[in-house]
Assembly symmetry: C2
Homo-oligomer: 877 residues x 2
């Protein structure tokens, strides 16, 4: 068995299949070499050597000889000599594990430089300053990696000398100064380690190899492995490779090129290059690179070669590639080829085209599209030309760009919105009381809150652009103006928000409407043939329902009934109902609400004709519906003919310390059965009337926040009784089901008991995440960022489902539920229903459907199809 | 096989062993008869007949004949004849299932009465009025049970006639009136059923038997079975028994007697009787019964007989019995014997004495004591003589009686308390801000809140009497007075609260201190030899710790560190720390708190020398420490040299929508590691200094509200680092452990991951109940009573652990935790640690210890021993 796998001159000992042994980088270099692509020659010391060395502190006996053979191999191909003062071979020593661990492990470049080889480099490059600067950098890097010396010690020397000589830029340093610095670097090494810096290139090589192996166990790598669950015993490989230089005069160049256009997906190479330069010059952006086509003029042969290689790489990897190359004295070297990053638009086009070209099949085409990013294609964007510097930035909570008047109060937003004026509601935060104003606004902007704050959730539900947590906004107490960073924005001034990027602009910027390409529509049809999860939508209004249907929703998975009570005519009887002191008073107020609810359901059932509609009975704490300011309280008191003080007392009684865990969900309908009765009556009257008109209605009634079987049964009986009464009254039979949300841990723990009674489960993952973690969504901002920074959490559990905790709870409930009722229909209607990673999990554990906000449906369709394709490999069916 | 089991004349077909077949009552009657005790003769139709009848609607063929034989048997023994107009035999027909289902199933008394036998009864009793009244009652009962007629129809007839005749009391009705009523009852039956009331006694009998069997399936019985999980297919037996009458003149009597004194446990019969009376006369309380001893004067033979029977019953059941008897014409009949209810004090005495007499073993003695009720023995009680009518009543939240000045503000309570004045703090509700005032009060009284409200929890922790949810108290806005129901109580007026009963009295009542009897101490020693659970205490002060030790605590299971910061000198640096804007400022404030914390721990470690002390790091939301009123805010602003507006802003930033799920627990220590550092330093400095003095210290540091392994590791590392530093500084080795509270569901779900790092788990069942149910303890009052009334919940889950939901979560965590670390120490420190039913569960699932408030330790010791004895039967070891 080999310890050292060589590659170069179109032949390699390894291949892509050996990534466990050679690491990702080593396997890739071998693969390219085997393809006949000119990669700078080198060799890979395999991961087994690493494991053995870290365990025993010793290398295999045969390793030394194999490395020497490897060195000879490189010298032969490059025609250079390691340690030569005339034509020195320089090496890069890089780590490369099976899994990518960017920046965690160590590397050393320009290895082989010493006081004599530096002259050789100067001759080769005809640039002594460059050679000296490379030497200086090598000394720093080697000292840090191999001797573990603090980089600051070298920076101090460098800066002191730079200041003393009054140089402004690093590039101003003269050769003399660099020589001075190099001398002092070596003195520092001697001083700190007690040993001279190793002059022998082979000593350097051996020390660097050892350092890279040892870096596998540095603390940050250990931490990274812990987080990403990478086994400790994989170890890293070490890649030793010849350095090539693009800065050997006008015969040399360096560049980056994509095999297709990464912005729009057009099938033409797209890239840029610099003559007489190193790769880092392109990154640094000091010189402006030229379009790749221009390379034909200076290096026609190399350009033709490059095009052939690009084609070859694409054909081989069957994907758009991002290729780094260097031309050293008219010789083309490919340094790296990897999967090219692309915009969502380009991803769709490339996937479609490659399928049309016969390069990939439909499944592969679908896998090429990022379900996460695709939503950006569906919303208006700020025109390319318009882009200026934003005033402030916040968290992009609901995508799309829109302009409108900045309005700081809900009342004002309603007033202007009704007149047809485009309003952007700007608030410190929003609550259920603001929903009326939000319905009349085109977008929202809040100073506090995260991805799952009230504003963000409502915005995504309504499909309106929204930015939250924009902390630089301070709304004046007068409510007439606000500071946006340093700029004062008066109420009524125009602003533009881009919910895709989180940027807020002053004034009205032009936006462009998106359109789904024919290619995209075709791919979406493929996903529907593949996916097994049904995709439903969360929608509270006929408008939302229609948008969702356009995007391919297969039903409504969550229709919240509470937002229906915030309209001007409805909020008063709602408040009357809440403050009623007898059940007769309550029934009277509810009877005023009944016609409204019925009309709401008629609209929604019509929009969703032929598809199932899951309606959740009243859920939020009642105090959300009550007025907070004196004027409104006084007005309410007049309407319900009670003294103001009495009204205030009752409002106070409804206040809660922890409303999230308080009097809400089915606790309302159990305490006040009249509420559930009214809602059931509205649902079944609407259903009967539409059925009579020939509209197909499939109502599913969902009881929220159930934690015990008895709670469910209590509400189920009410709904069944009202349903029978209404069906008898209309002489019409409606086929309906009654199910529950699983959103507190207890419901999951006793899912077997609940499933004996319920027709379906729908996981409310927002609340379940809150209760499983004990995090309030509204308050978690105080520590959640710290938790993400300190890697206590990998991701925000309100955005991507915590499969390890919350997910286990869900799995348990699915198992227990299906044990009682094998055909139990199970879905999910929390925010996670629109998150691709979470959809993957929901597919895996066997849910029947997910429900997401309308604009996330397309992404969900893709994610659901991808999940099928992903697990098909393991469980073919 | 028999369908009918007869009993009478010292011989029975059945026995106590046959309770499944004969029901509890039937088996008991058989058992007593077999003992030679004179029970009115009768027979039991077994439960199999019930099951068959309910399934098929038919009786076994042989049943009729067996019932007839049974009737002959009764007639023979009593010398009476069923249906006779001279000497009629009357029967009682009662249900009796295997499990007790009090009041759920039907019974009929005085069966056999008709227009002719009523004359016989009049002759027998020499009381025609009584005979007619019995007949009237029989008609009502039979009609309701057998014909399912609404009782109101009969009450209407009765009341109309009573009013027409202007009678005040039922007993004023004349024979004529009763005859009139009886006639109209029969007319009503004919009117409602279309049939005459059955005159034939045997028809009556058969109809009553059927009705009792059918009552097994009435809705309230079904509901009861659902709640108490009694299988539907058990069925009920029917007991047919001769009626006997204690009202046949001065030769007759009726009474109730306990085999020992149920109040103090003295070994002497204790009871009372009435001459010429029925059992209901004793219950009604119209005539005053005489002490049982007086029976010797009128019925010397019967009295001697009764004493022999009492002895026999006690020897047979080996327990104190409660016996109902009737003497009919100088003949003694025992109607019922059951386990006698007794006070906690009597329970201890009886158990000890019976063991001393060799009647029961130690295990049985322990099982005889109610772990739930025993706490009442430990607190002062209101003197027997003092009892007057309470002003108002609330929920008894922490037992014991105490008098003091009613004080309505925390500030005033502190002021007076410091002067040594006994203060009862009366508040609408309490919060962490009141803890200072509570420490200076002798008891608390709140208008709102339940058993687990802040006031209740703190009170039980401090062992001070407390009443909560006393809704008739309205504190005036002035804070100077309050309405206690209709009475105005001015601040400073004396009141007395009895936290054992929930009663509030005006003025100062005498109380008496309890003392543990020698018997009780002996039994407690037995429990310690048996129980396997360790019993620790929740204690935050050396005083609490000493009380707990006296009661037998084996360590501290929860020492909360936050209450330590409310003292006058400590609250200011605490607030400074909270509002610090840099970590230097925070460290400075913390360094002021350090000496206080260290002193606290020195005190507690000393009090607990040689026993483990579990200290929880800071847990509550920080805003609990911040001032709310303007004056205090201004004062804080001056101290920390910030503008008042700025201070208000910062306080506002810390406000939370759902503090229970907010920035608290280890989230504090992770965001501000300086806090954990300071606390660790205080713990280890205290431990080192005491160890140096020769005190044995066993600290266990507990990290609260952990939900992920990473959270625990973060805090663990800090504690370990500080511990090493301190031990090095003092040159002393402390053996300590670091563990965590399991109080959010996620911790239970990933308990295997956390157990890899943690030394111990302690379940915080209060918070776990909140998060598993999604109930806020502070807000659940709004629906929890409804839930208990509507039987949605069997008991308040904050008092008795919800074994079905929360318990399953705990079991899972125990299993997962021990999978990772088989010797993981596991305990529980929530309120349930002091609840007997919950302790039973904790023992069963294999916990190592429970921790309860000091005054609940003795009950916990008993409950822990009882759990061992209970499960020993099934799993001997």
């Amino acid at each position: 068995m080999l310890y050292v796998y060589r590659f170069g001159n179109s032949k390699a000992d390894g291949s892509a299949r050996l990534s466990a042994l050679l690491g990702g980088k080593g396997a890739g270099l071998a693969e390219m070499t085997n393809l006949g692509i000119s990669v700078p020659p080198g060799f890979t010391i395999n991961t087994k050597v690493c494991v053995q060395y870290l365990k025993t502190g010793k290398y295999p006996k045969k390793l030394l000889n194999e490395v020497k053979q490897g060195m000879k191999f490189i010298e032969q191909i490059t025609g250079r000599k390691f340690g030569s003062a005339e034509n020195p071979l320089l090496l890069s020593i890089r780590s490369g594990a099976k899994a990518s661990m960017p920046g965690m492990l160590d590397s050393v470049l320009n290895l082989g430089l010493n006081d004599s080889t530096v002259d050789g480099l100067a001759k080769q490059t005809k640039n002594r300053r460059f050679a000296l600067d490379s030497y200086r950098r090598f000394l720093e890097m080697f000292s840090e990696v191999v001797f573990d010396l603090p980089i600051e010690e070298f920076e101090k020397i460098f800066d002191t000398e730079k200041n003393r000589q009054q140089f402004k830029l690093d590039s101003d340093l003269t050769e003399n100064t660099l020589e001075y610095i190099i001398r002092h670097y070596k003195i520092k090494v001697l001083e700190l380690t007690g040993k001279s810096f190793p002059e022998d290139p082979f000593d350097q090589l051996w020390m660097a190899i050892t350092a890279v192996f040892e870096s596998w166990n540095n603390p940050r790598a250990q931490e990274y492995r812990r987080i990403y669950k990478i086994p400790k015993d994989w170890g890293t490989a070490v890649n030793v490779q010849a350095m090539v230089f693009g800065n050997m005069g006008e015969t040399s160049a360096t560049g980056v090129v994509f095999t297709r256009n990464p912005a729009n997906g057009e099938n033409e190479p797209y890239g840029e290059f610099l003559l007489n330069a190193q790769g880092e010059d392109i990154v640094a952006g000091v010189r402006t690179p030229k379009p790749i086509e221009w390379l034909e003029q200076t290096h026609p042969k190399n350009y033709a070669q490059l095009l052939r290689i690009l084609k070859k790489l694409e054909n081989h990897y069957r994907d758009m590639s991002d290729v780094e190359f260097t031309i050293e004295n008219n010789r083309l070297w490919i340094l790296q080829a990897r999967r090219g990053k692309r915009t969502p638009r380009a991803a769709v086009k490339i996937a479609y085209d490659m399928h049309a070209q016969g390069m990939i099949d439909k499944a592969q085409a679908i896998m090429r599209i990022s379900a996460k990013d695709i939503e950006a294609l569906l919303h208006p964007m700020i025109s390319e030309k318009e882009k200026i510097t934003p005033l402030v930035k916040g968290i992009p909570a609901s995508p799309g760009a829109i302009s409108g008047q900045a309005i700081f109060s809900t009342g004002k937003a309603i007033k202007l919105g009704r007149k047809g004026i485009k309003v952007i509601l700007v608030r410190t935060k929003t609550s259920a009381e603001d929903v009326g104003g939000m319905a009349h606004s085109v977008g929202f902007l809040t100073a506090t809150g995260g991805m799952t704050s009230h504003a963000a959730v409502v915005a995504r539900g309504m499909g309106k652009p929204c930015i939250v947590g924009c902390e630089e906004i301070k709304i004046d107490e007068s409510g007439q103006k606000a500071m946006f960073g340093d700029l004062e924005i008066k109420q009524g001034m125009k602003i533009t928000i881009d919910g895709t990027s989180g940027a807020v602009y002053s004034g009205e910027l032009k936006t462009q409407e998106p359109e789904l390409s024919q290619e995209f529509k075709t791919i979406l049809q493929w996903t529907d043939q593949i996916k097994t999860l049904q995709i439903r939508t969360n929608a509270d209004t006929p408008q939302d329902a229609l948008v969702a249907r356009k995007f391919g929703a297969q039903g409504i998975g969550l229709c919240r009934t509470e937002h229906m009570f915030f309209g001007a005519k409805r909020i008063w009887p709602m408040r009357e109902m809440i403050l009623a002191s007898t059940s007769e008073q309550r029934a009277r107020a509810l009877s005023k609400l009944l016609p409204f609810q019925k009309q709401d359901f008629i609209g929604i059932f019509k929009a969703m004709a032929g598809l199932p509609v899951t309606i959740r009975t009243l859920d939020p704490p009642l105090h959300e519906f009550l007025p907070k300011d004196e004027k409104q309280i006084a007005s309410l008191a007049r309407r319900i003919k009670l003294p103001v003080e009495k009204v205030k007392q009752r409002i106070n009684l409804l206040k809660e310390d922890n409303p999230m865990l308080g009097f809400r969900g089915c606790r309302l309908g159990i305490t006040y059965p009249e509420i559930t009765e009214m809602q059931a009556q509205a649902i079944f009257e609407a259903a009967c009337e539409l059925t009579r008109q020939g509209v197909k209605v499939l109502p599913e009634i969902m009881i929220p926040l159930v934690g015990t079987q008895a709670e469910f049964v209590h509400q189920e009986k009410i709904v069944e009784r009202v349903a029978s009464l209404m069906m008898a009254k209309y002489q019409i039979k409606i086929s309906y089901t009654i199910g529950t949300m699983i959103e507190v841990p207890r419901a999951a723990l006793v899912a077997n008991e609940i499933a004996r009674e319920a027709d379906f489960f729908s996981f409310g993952t927002n609340d379940l995440t809150q209760t499983v973690f004990g995090y309030s969504r509204d308050d978690a901002g105080k520590f959640l960022n710290q938790y993400l920074d300190k890697k206590i959490l990998e991701s925000n559990p309100f955005e991507t489902l915590d499969t390890n905790g919350v997910g286990q709870m869900i799995k348990m409930a699915v198992r227990l539920g299906r044990k009682s009722k094998s055909n139990l229909k199970i879905g999910i209607c929390g925010e996670h229903g629109g998150d691709a990673d979470s959809i993957d999990f929901f597919h895996k554990i066997g849910l029947d459907y997910i429900s997401s906000s309308p604009y996330r449906i397309i992404g969900a369709r893709i994610a659901a199809a991808q999940a099928v394709l992903k697990y098909k490999k393991y469980t073919p069916h």
